[in-house]
Structure formats: C-alpha cells, structure tokens
Amino acid sequence: MPTEAAVTQLRLVSIGKRYSGTKALDDVSVELARGTVHALVGANGAGKSTLGKIIGGVIRPDEGQLFVNDRPVRYASPSEARIDGIATIAQELTPVPALSVIENVYLGIEPRRHGLVQRHRMRAQYAELVAEWGFELDGNVKVGALRTADKQKVEILRAVASDARLIVMDEPTSSLTSVETKTLHRMIRTLRERGRTIVYVSHFLDEVLELADMVTVLRSGRLVRTAPVTEETEESLVAGMFGAAAAAENFEKPQRSTAPVMLDVSGLDRRGVLRDISLQIRAGEIVGLAGLVGSGRTELARAIAGADPVDRGTIVVDGTVRRISSPADAMAAGMAFLPESRKDDGLFLELSLAANTTFADLPAVASRLGVLRLAQERGKTTSLLNMLSVQPPAPSAKAANLSGGNQQKVMFARWLFRNPRVLILDEPTRGVDVAARAAIHQLINNLAAAGTAVLLISSEIEEVLGLAHRVLVMRRGSITTEFGADPPLDAVMEAAFGLGGRTIA
C-alpha cells in the first residue's frame, strides 16, 4: 500500500514516444498538481492517450523523464506505477467478468491471513469503502453482468481501495449516457475534494470545461499549452487542437426529401430486444435514431443489417421484399452497415488499407477465377482514400497505425466501394476527432444528397439532430416517438427518457 512514496505531484519532462517511425509524442512537458482534475485534450492521434498511458506506466516513453515528488521514476508496468499510487482506468475496461464486484475491487490486494483470503473481512472492507466514498454498488454481482458505467465504478473503487493518489482516466465517458456521465463527474469531484489527482483524457470539450481545473492541449504529439480551464473556451481549445484554421463545426441542415421509399421495415420483432419496429427511409433521406444506451438502437441496426437474427418482420429494399438472415443477404439487397465498434467488428487491423477497403467486394478487383488484380485494387483504394482525405492515403499502410478518425474513414471507404443504396451507420463518429467528425458529417450529408438512404444512430444527440431529416426515438426496444427535422433537444431527451415533463437530470 502506498504511503510516504505516494504521489503528490507528478512532473513529465521532455517526454517523447515513437510508434513505428511516427512520433506519437515529441518533447512534451507537463506538471500535475495534487488534488486537481487535469484534462488532456487533442485530436485523435495527438498523443493524449499515449501521454495518459505513460503516466500510468502502461507504456514506456522513448525519451524524457517522469518525476514523482521530484524523484525520477521509470515504470515498466502499470503495477509499478501502482506502488507509487498511480492507477489507470483504461478505455477498454479490464475487470474480470466472472468474479464479483468485491472480488474485482480487491483482486491482488485481498486481505489475507496465512495466505488465505479472508472473505468476511473483504466484505466488511468493501462496505466501509462504499460508505466512505458514497459510490453505491452491489458488491455481490458478477462484474460481467454490469453495464459499462458500473464497470467503471468497479475500477474506480479498486483504485481508491488500493489508496491510489493519482487516477488516469482514458475517455471514461465515451460509452456512457449523459446521466451516467453526470454520476461519474460527481465521483471525480469527490475524489478531487479528498486530495486525489485525476488525469482526464477526453475529446468531449464541454466535459473538460465543466470538470477540469487544468487543461493540457496536444497537437500532433506536441504540447500546445497547459492552462487553467478558466482561461479556455470550447473555441479556444478547438483552435489549440487544430490550429486557428478549423474552428467550431457546423452541421448541415438539408431539406426533407419526398423521394421513393428505399428501406421499409415493418413488424420487426426480437424477443426481449426489439418490439414491433416499423420504419421507412426514403432515398436521400437521413433518419436519425435517438435513445438511451440499451434502448435497442444498435440491436435494431444489427437486425436490419442481418448481423443478428430476428423472430418476425419484413424488410423491403427498393420495393423488393428481402429475406435477410446474414450480413451477406443484406449486402446483396444493397445495404451497408457500419458497426459501432470499428476495432471489434470493423477493421482488419493487421491488414493494409487496400485490403480493408476492398474486403466487402473483392470480386470487383479480381478476375472471374478469383485472382486479385492488385494494381487495380491499389488504384481504386487510392482514389477512395483521397476522396475521404485519409491520412496517409497509402493503400499499403497498416490499418492499426492510423488514428481513430482515419480508421473510421477507411470503414466508410469499404462501404462506399460497394455503392450502397441503404447505409446504416452506428456511431459513425465515436472516438473521432473534431476535424474528422466534421468531414464525416459532410460525407453523410453528401451521400444522402446523392440519393443514399441513411439510418443514423448516435449517442450524441446533437449529431442526430444536426444531420437527420427525421428523428425516431427508441425506448425499451420500440420506437416511441417520431420527430421531423430539427426537433427541440429537450423534447427528444424527454422522449428518450420516457418523461412527460422537463425533469431530465
């Protein structure tokens, strides 16, 4: 357990980190003061996550030095950082799903006697811990059954149980609902009041401005500045992240279309997940799906795209009834589905951009015998990558080496390569920086203008409202409300929460 050695102040001097030739971080110096929330912001690929990981001992810097209380340190692993009281709560949470909350919280630091874990003492300690910090969570539930927000709570409890003094949080709210985000922020404030330091890596600038004391802005691996949050605005942060040129983004507000119906879904049912879903999307129309996490948005998208089975329902594409029981069926019908998680369900990280782009339609770059025409593949990929301004626009680059925004553009490239009539987008801008976001919004808008029917799902309600010609709100597996273009935000939120009045948290 960290005591005297515990971190009160952390200093990073001239930190540098290289990944296969590209500089992820270059000469970055930051000082973190005790009892503050210190935000790290930057575009995707700016190096903010890398910096967070270096602080947490997850990765080692190639250059520079860390000082804890003016003592130079060098962490080979997160567990070494933990000895100094530094804990990391990663973007991809890592608790053990088969163990209970209590067992996870005390994993590796169980109270023991003669080498045996004392379960009753562990329970008592947990009750104390929860009472002390006011973070309510049933300790006996298996972690695997918890929602992301609660898994995060487990990680935070785990950090405070081991008396961590500095907690690194990497994009903690990227898969939380707004209510859950508020809860997390309350917890962070409690931590700060009790002298804990929080390193808060995020691309949500409003959260940073609301929560943080200090903010460090990074751009392309270099330090732009570290400043008190009170001196910053959303515009000043964006300007810092992208240079003065790219300021706040502006969503397009196109007119509602009256074209023929391209996608007609009726009576879609899946036991316990979807209830009697019917919706229509016209050619050139963007229909937004809003709703809380767990309302069935993603499940609906997957059902239409053939990724998950359904019990009942009809899907008509461009006037033809289609039996869709696999993604291949949906693609044959002219649909394309961009899944929520590009890492889990989308990209082939080890393969080249060319392979990633053409994978869904390899016959288009192959002879009838199935021999690939590699030059043709490179050519077609290059022009798509250029059109989408992917950096680098090199067909031979490895997908894993791209930033999140560029990876997402490659996912778009794969589907544009097929020229779909119906495009289903699940969280198309998750984990994507502001510039790439704007580019993707513009792209979605252009595709619709060219006649593609778009179903857009996003946790960010502003994104749905900004792009959609119509907004459908889902709640508990059914579509409960429909709005036209530009509905008032609070009305959509109320529908999503199933509230009558304006009592949203």
């Binding site: 296969s20 993604p327 082939f348 393969l351 021999v371 690939l372 025409r373 090199a394 031979s396």
Partner: protein
C-alpha cells in the same frame, strides 16, 4: 498476376506489394521464391531495413528468421564438408517433404484463426487407406482415395469446428483419436499393408532430373499455396477471418465456409503427405511411433518458427517453408556433425520458444 503499375508516384517503391523479397535465405533449389504478402503490411518492412533505416524489434521478429536461417546455413556449410553438397541439401528437403506439405496447408488453417492437431492421424489413416485400396481395388485407386479420404477427414474437422462450434483444439484432438483408431482397425491391429505394385512406390522412390518426386511435389504444393494465399480472393478471406472474424462476417463473408475449406485443404494435403510416405516406405502403416505422431507438432512448430501468428490473421506459406526447413536443417546439420540426437530436440525446442516469445514481446510493445 497483374503488372505492378504504381498509381502512387510518391509512394516509396519499397511498399509495392509485388516487390519480391530481396533476401530469401532460401538455400534449396525448387523452393518457392519468397514473395511479400500483399495484404500483410508488415511484410513490406524488409526493404526499408535494407535501405538503412533503424532496425526495430518488429523487424527482428519478422525477418530474424531469415537472418538466422542464413546464419545456420552458413555455419553448417563451414563446419561440415558434406552439408553443402547438392546431394545432402536434396536429402534435407526430401526428408522434410511430407512434413512440409502438411505444414504449408495447415498454415491456411492457422491464418484463418484455427488450429489442427489431427494432421498426424489424417496422415496415418490416409496412408493406410491408400495402401489398402492399392492391394484390394488396384494400385491406381490409392491416389484419389488417400487424398480424398484426407479431404473428408478435414471436412469432418471443419464441420465440428463451425457447425457444432467445438473449439478447434478439442475438435481436432478428438477427431485425431478416432481417425487413428480407424487406421489401427483397417490394419487389423497394426499390421503393415504392403502393395506389391511398383506403381505404388514410384513417386516415393524415384527421381526426375536427379530430384526426388516428393521434393518436387513439396515445391509445387508450397508455391501453389503461397500464390493462392497472396493473390486470390480466397487467400484474402483467410487473413480477414483470422484477423477479425466479426468484421469478416459483417463484410458479407460466409465465414464458416471459408473455415471449413481450410480444414479440407489441410486434410487433403495430409492425405497427399501420407500417400508419399507410404510410397517411400512401400507400405501403409497405422503406427504413430514415427511421423504420424510427431507430424502435427513439427508442422505447427514450423509455422510458428517461420513467424506466422499462431492466433491467425498474419503469416505466409513461404515462412512455413523456411521454418520447416530450418527444423530439418538442425537435424541434418547436427547429424553430420555427429551431435547426439537429444541435443537436436533441445535446440529445436529452444528455437521455437524464442521465436514465439519474441513475437509476443514485440506485440506487447506495440499495444
């Protein structure tokens, strides 16, 4: 194959996927010329190393095998007066031809993210069935029956893994038991089946232009499989399935069919290897004391040593060829230097561990 017209003028020529590897470390005539996989982007790194950039851990992992193979080759060439004779080198490949054929094919299964521990049993049962039909139906039947029965056994494996969703380790471990049992049954408890026809032993015991037929068959199999992997839609699908199964399915691929096909190809190749083996010895034997027992381990060790990922998504056939030949080279070279056989196993074991540990170490740094 299409001509490599480079649409990207600014792209360094090094990243052209059609550029052959400048260094192959390939000592043996008739083996496939190493070609960079067009899809595995890491494969393009070698020319950059040679052009004078920093050598990094991932280069050591990806190309260390080549350097090591060359070094080992050079060492044996100097240490033993016999090693560097065409006769010995041909023998080296000849002795490893059956392992090599099975290993090249199982590379497909492994790249697609699966595993096959039944190589040895398929090999044995195919061999026995081939010899059996040679005796009872006529010698020409042995060719289609050996290869075909191997394919059927692969199909069974594939169906177990995809349709019954049995883990590939367990499925092939279990099927290996059954196949081996059937082989013992066919041979009435382990008797040798010895076809008398000279046709049966022809490919195993004869040469053309001084090269043993098994060597030629191995070379053809390796080249064909490498080309399929690098230049066809099917090959690309294997990388996709092994790299990200969900993504492959969501991209419209019939994943199960692809996986089954890898098992069928592996099964057929093991059948071919069994046929060659029985042709070399002139008999069909159900014993697993010889190659039948060690084949799966040696073949998979060859794949791993070559640098293909055991978890799928990354790898190539030429790497497997290199891995298998390196294992063979250790045996051959140590024999020539009269090193006791147990040292061979110790060294081979250490090598495999080094290769795998290195790839893990590098992957962890990347993460």
């Amino acid at each position: 194959m299409t001509a490599p017209s480079d649409p990207l003028a600014s792209d360094p020529p090094a990243s052209d996927p059609l550029t052959p590897e400048p260094v192959t470390g390939e000592p043996v005539a008739g083996e496939p010329v190493a070609t960079a996989d067009p899809v595995a982007a890491r494969e393009i790194a070698l020319p950059r190393v040679l052009s004078g950039r920093r050598i990094k851990a991932e280069h050591v992992r990806d190309y260390g095998i080549i350097v090591f193979a060359v070094a080992l080759f050079a060492y044996f060439a100097v240490a033993s007066s016999v090693f560097l004779t065409s006769q010995n080198l041909l023998n080296l490949v000849f002795q490893n031809a059956t392992i090599g054929i099975a290993a090249c094919a199982v590379t497909f299964t492994i790249i697609a993210g699966n595993f096959d521990l039944s190589l040895g049993s398929i090999f044995v049962l195919s061999e026995v069935l081939g010899a059996y039909v040679a005796v009872h139906w006529g010698v020409w039947w042995s060719f289609p029956i050996a290869i075909g029965s191997g394919a059927v056994m692969g199909l069974i494996n594939g169906l177990l893994v995809t349709k019954l969703r049995v883990n590939a380790f367990l499925a092939t471990l279990a099927s290996a038991l059954s196949f081996g049992g059937i082989a013992v049954g066919v041979t009435r408890g382990g008797l040798l089946i010895t076809p008398t026809s000279s046709v049966f032993t022809f490919i195993g015991q004869h040469r053309i232009i001084g090269i043993q037929y098994p060597v030629i068959i191995f070379a053809v199999v390796a080249i064909v499989l490498q080309l399929v992997l690098a230049y066809t839609v099917f090959g690309r699908h294997l990388y996709g399935v092994g790299g990200n199964r969900n993504a492959a399915r969501l991209s419209g691929l019939k994943v199960d069919r692809t996986v089954i096909l890898t098992f069928v190809i592996t099964g057929a190749a093991c059948g071919l290897a069994g046929l060659i083996d029985s042709s070399m010895t002139g008999s069909g034997s159900s014993t697993t004391a010889g190659l039948g027992g060690t084949l799966p381990l040696l073949a998979i060790a060859g794949v791993a040593l070559g640098g293909s990922s055991i978890f799928g998504g990354v790898g190539s056939v030429w790497r497997t060829v290199l891995g298998v030949l390196m294992l063979g080279m250790i045996t051959n070279g140590f024999d020539l230097l009269a090193v006791t056989p147990y040292w061979q196993d110790i060294v081979r074991g250490i090598l495999i561990i080094l290769a795998v540990a290195l790839s893990f170490a590098v992957d962890r740094r990347d993460a």
